[in-house]
Symmetry: C2
Subunit: 144 residues, 2 copies
Amino acid sequence: MAKSNSPITEHLAYLLAQANREINRQLELRLSKEGVPVEQWRILKVLSDGNGHSMGELADAVLLNHPTLTKMIDRMVSDTLVYRVQDPNDRRKVLMFISDRGKVLCRKLNSLAVDQEEHILESYGDKSTSELKRLLESLIDSSN
Amino acid sequence: MAKSNSPITEHLAYLLAQANREINRQLELRLSKEGVPVEQWRILKVLSDGNGHSMGELADAVLLNHPTLTKMIDRMVSDTLVYRVQDPNDRRKVLMFISDRGKVLCRKLNSLAVDQEEHILESYGDKSTSELKRLLESLIDSSN
DNA sequence: TTGAAAATATTGAATATTCAACAATTGAAG
DNA sequence: CTTCAATTGTTGAATATTCAATATTTTCAA
């Protein structure tokens, strides 16, 4: 039974927040070499399949709520990394596409992100990493 | 070897962000019954040992940077949940203490948080939960 | 077919967070 | 001792996020 006086460091919610903060901070540091926030890398990565993705779909995928995404996309459109196209099948929707410039940037960012993953693999271990990923996926599944 | 064209859902940083978002959202929902954000619960929990904690120490513990913490503490002081005392040994420092009202609120919040942990244990399993906690602690350790 | 409800995206105001600069105190080297 | 650098916390301006309201389009039931 979980004890209400247990220190906060034993709560799953806290451990997740702490680990996320640390790993995210490291990734942020790498991506800052290209002057791009983590969320923009996520957006570019999702769009890099070349298909059009609606704003709602994208918001889910990149873990941002709708108004925040809209404003971030505005900035990325100004930077000509992505562009909007109205969905011809459902004119409520806007489909987002990655531009050529976006693709070039995305490749650079991918390599920075892979650097980080490799760094984690080294210090944390192959086995732990894949086991952690498996458990996280399963936690996410069981939460829906 | 990590592939740069692997989907974002395979990156550790992404899985952590996703799991954190989901679990945090659930906790937020519970704590909102007392109208308290997750960060304030963390602050109260850390201070509930009855000792004085400096702002810097607290900022580390509750995963907030200094200016954000200062402003959140301002609100909590207004709500008489905590109070400031200048550290007599080092007058640059401010020691934070929990008030009686803060203690009462903290007990209610603890019980809501424990509810959530138990809910996770049910749907996700005892074994997975403790294994996930172990791996997260170890990841955090290896990142310092 | 029409009209109400749902889905989708955006906007603007309110709120929160972050960055850079500041003030106060301590530490430590000369 | 004195002075200069480092530590600690706060502030205000700039930035970002969120909430509620809006506009548009689609869906679906009557």
